[in-house]
Symmetry: C2
Subunit: 372 residues, 2 copies
């Protein structure tokens, strides 16, 4: 296990302000970067999933907000115009993907930095404070990932469910690795740590239709790190669980309600139902910034629906459609798993267990104290 | 609902013996046929899934066996050589796909016709008897589909699960339509009949990874027949069920054990588990030739594993891979759903309900009496 992945999803250069995003749409075939220099192109890159993964889009949006501040500081004559420009940047960035709460959390935090700057302060200084905090968000995200992995190790089964010898077999959905965070990963960070502890650790990789983040990104990261794995179609997970070939299912999350309802990549609910049916632990790994106490239950989480072509053109518009031209799709990007199907939620502040309305509130309170 | 689909999966011309198969690998983009003139190329077409669907491959194999008989009759000097050539054809055809039992059932039936022909009979006459029976298999398959649809209508929910107005919403996996049978379809035949009874009937179409038979074939058939539908990724079915947007799940089968264990396209088990969890009826539609009383339980059913490229190249080898070159896959073509998750099994002889070891045996006994 290398501690520092070869590819970073996000690189930021301050002078001139330039956000370089690894284009995750063309991995693993091509390693190409998309350069953003403003809030608008950063929002477009998030919307088009050049960068994706709840923590990573929070970090990318933070840098996008900083670039908006720099440009507003150059253009705006006064603080009121500067604030108005930043409000516009906030809106365009926070609307780029509606479900992941980390995006809005990061933007709220930076807007708080701006509000905290007294009216008389030079705009340059406000920008510098925003950059400091954007960098802190990225740094803290990696630290949180490593803390989650440490906590999560306690949840790894000690042995295989079927009694055979060998490392435990973890089933993973979507991509929650270095590419989905500023580094290391959430659920895939736990898998890195498990592999570090026992190199025999084995991963079943859900391909994760429609965008194939499992095939394109998770398998890419596992190859990089020499972690043994097999790629499966999403619907094969049940068969593996029924054969007792899965010892743990682990996923990340884009938003967790106060009740413990977990919004995550489409397909997570199906895995959770099967995990319950076949007696496999189902563990969510996500930083506390994913917990949205304003969302009381799953019903309060907006689910993004995306375009037909993600389903009808699995290899992109350059390859033939796999469905008739007249066929429309229902393409929700996420689903919501109810708390009774979730064994545990691992955060950087520790592990939440049912009842989640109590345990999540307690973790959030600890996080808030730390932040103050 | 048109009673006679525009495209037939299988056409057979007797003179010279020519089997014309609609190439289902390139639908819906291209309508192209593959011509087979011998058992070997018929077996290759089955293996490569030019033709697929348990009943359809039974019919295709029957014609392949007949073509072997014609060629053996021309080449063989005597009955022993003829029989030996047919034994070889039986092996190559029955090994082309190991899971579907209809294939072997059709071949056993034709071999029975050959054995029933007394030693003195002219080989031409034996061939004629084989052709008659191959055509009977195709004809009976369509009649069975229509009978299954009639029986199955009794299982359609009278109203939507969520109490809203409108036609019932049926979720369907893989393709079980005209393209999977000699005509009409099994589970999709039931959907045709439901649509005939109420044109508001709505279908959620599982795309059915890895081969995308739902997107490529079922959506194609539904467009042809103007049946309202939406295409989804397989893993989105759970979300729809949790939102009470699915009133019935229906699938076909490739082999049903005496116990009621149902082998079907990978992903069926996951649907059945979710259907049970969310209280949605789960109905299997398959002719009695699918029931294999020699398979006592699911453990007796061989599950075919197919090559990596079906997963790593969703649009075929002409389009880029979606996974790293070093990544291997686990690619079972089928899974086995246990009887406790199956609400009912609809056959042309009526509906089997739990306990299946009794109800399936009774249906098979009735079918055997009919055949005698």
């Amino acid at each position: 296990m290398s501690d520092r992945p070869v590819f970073a999803a996000i690189r930021f250069v301050a002078d001139p302000p330039t956000l370089e995003l690894l284009d995750q749409r063309v991995l693993p075939g091509h390693v190409r970067h998309v350069t953003c220099v403003a809030a608008a192109d950063t929002a477009a890159a998030i919307q088009q999933m050049v960068v994706r993964g709840a923590p990573a889009i929070g970090v990318a949006a933070a840098y996008g907000f900083y670039m908006a501040a720099v440009s507003a500081s150059a253009a705006a004559g006064d603080r009121a115009a500067f604030d108005a420009a930043l409000d516009a940047a906030y809106d365009v960035l926070s609307n780029s993907r509606p479900t992941a709460v980390n995006l809005r959390w990061a933007l709220d935090r930076l807007r708080g930095v701006v509000s905290a700057a007294r009216p008389g302060i030079a705009l340059d200084a406000v920008c510098a404070a925003v950059l400091d905090d954007a960098r802190a968000i990225a740094r803290e995200d990696e630290a949180a990932c490593r803390a989650m992995a440490r906590h999560g190790l306690a949840l790894l089964p000690a042995a295989r469910a079927d009694g055979t010898d060998g490392g435990v077999r973890i089933l993973h959905h979507c991509n929650t690795g270095s590419l989905a965070t500023s580094n290391y990963g959430t659920a895939l960070g736990l898998i890195r740590a498990a592999h570090h502890a026992d190199p025999r650790t084995f991963v079943y990789v859900d391909e994760t239709r429609p965008r194939l983040q499992g095939a394109r990104l998770t398998a890419f990261e596992l190859v990089q790190e020499n972690i043994d794995h097999l790629l499966i179609v999403d619907s094969a997970a049940a068969m593996l669980m029924s054969a007792k070939k899965v010892d743990l299912v682990t996923v990340g999350s884009d938003r967790i309600a106060a009740s413990g309802h977990v919004a995550n990549k489409i397909g997570t609910l199906s895995l959770a139902v099967n995990a319950r049916h076949f007696g496999v632990p189902f563990v969510v790994v996500a930083p506390v910034s994913t917990i949205d106490l304003n969302a009381l239950t799953g019903a309060d989480i907006e689910i993004e629906e995306r375009e037909d072509s993600e389903i009808t053109h699995p290899c992109g518009l350059d390859c033939p459609a796999v469905a008739p031209a007249k066929t429309r799709t229902f393409n929700p990007a996420f689903d919501v798993t109810p708390p009774d199907l979730v064994t545990a939620i691992v955060t950087e502040y520790g592990i939440a267990r049912p009842p989640y309305n109590e345990s999540l509130a307690a973790l959030c309170a600890r996080a808030a104290r730390d932040f103050i």
